[in-house]
């Protein structure tokens, strides 16, 4: 039963990413050229509403649908890992024009070359796991 819920959430998210054009390479390029408000509007309105939702959950101590505590652990304190990792991610995001959600949307939409990006992203994750102890965090 729960698996079906996860699947439905994924299908919905995939449709939103495709229809909003957030999965389009062109929209990512346009965003980094400051050519349109579109992507800023998507991220901005998602975060704006997201802040309200999370503050509401925390202040009203909202329980999950299964009546469990909703625990949102804070991110680990650091600067260098977020800066270095973030810059590396951003370079790839702009080049491939896809981040880890849209990659899978594009696979479903039939753009076969995205498969190379996905395999490479898995490989990149693997490389990080292998050399992580040598990197500043």
């Amino acid at each position: 039963m729960r698996s079906i819920i996860y699947l439905v959430i994924g299908v919905f998210f995939g449709i939103v990413l495709f229809k909003s054009e957030a999965a389009s390479w062109f929209r990512i390029y346009e965003m980094f050229q400051f050519g349109s408000f579109h992507m800023y509007g998507i991220i901005g309105s998602a975060v704006g509403l997201g802040i309200i939702i999370i503050q509401f959950i925390k202040r009203k101590n909202i329980k999950s649908f299964y009546n469990e505590e909703i625990h949102i652990p804070p991110k680990e304190r650091s600067f260098s890992r977020y800066m270095f990792g973030g810059i590396i991610f951003g370079l790839g995001w702009a080049l491939a024009g896809a981040c880890p959600g849209p990659m899978f949307v594009l696979l479903g939409a039939g753009y076969l070359p995205i498969f190379i990006v996905i395999i490479s992203a898995i490989l990149g994750t693997f490389l990080y796991g292998v050399i992580k102890d040598k990197l500043p965090h």
Binding site: I9, S45, G86
Partner: protein
Amino acid sequence: MNWIYEPWPWYLSGPLIALVMFVLLMIGKRFGMSSNLRTMCTICGAGKASDFFKFNWKAQRWNLIVVLGVIIGGFIATNFLSTDTSVDINPKIIADLQSIGFKSAGDAYMPDLLFSNDVFNDPKGLLLLVLGGILVGFGARYAGGCTSGHAISGLSDLQIPSLIAVISFFIGGLVMIHFIFPLIF
């Protein structure tokens, strides 16, 4: 209901993404796509190479099901919910892109130069896709999250680390588009 077949405006799409995050929280899960890449490494046996991949991946099975849904969602959206998938970006940027070889700018969802099947016979295009993918995968795990985990979930939770990460995503993206693109295209 014709609007469904048109591109969806930001003021609909953004709140719907927040809704996805909300529903995941309400079923006791957290919104983040890039952690699936780590789970896929573990399933492929990466635990032999690094302890980073030694964890009980079955606890992340739910997120892999979300990914499967995302793939199906992409298929449904392009085949059944769209009449024209060309992306109507800023005309000036269409002209700029066409002048550097992206002929399909303004007429397609993805650039032919990198995402048509011709790229399989184009060493330069292949190299760029591989490089882009490696940077995304490496950077997302190094930063501890991607656009969904940091930009949406983290910023919504007012996390300073996520703000540092998102600003850095943009620094990386701007460097790529403004300084590295002129060298490769």
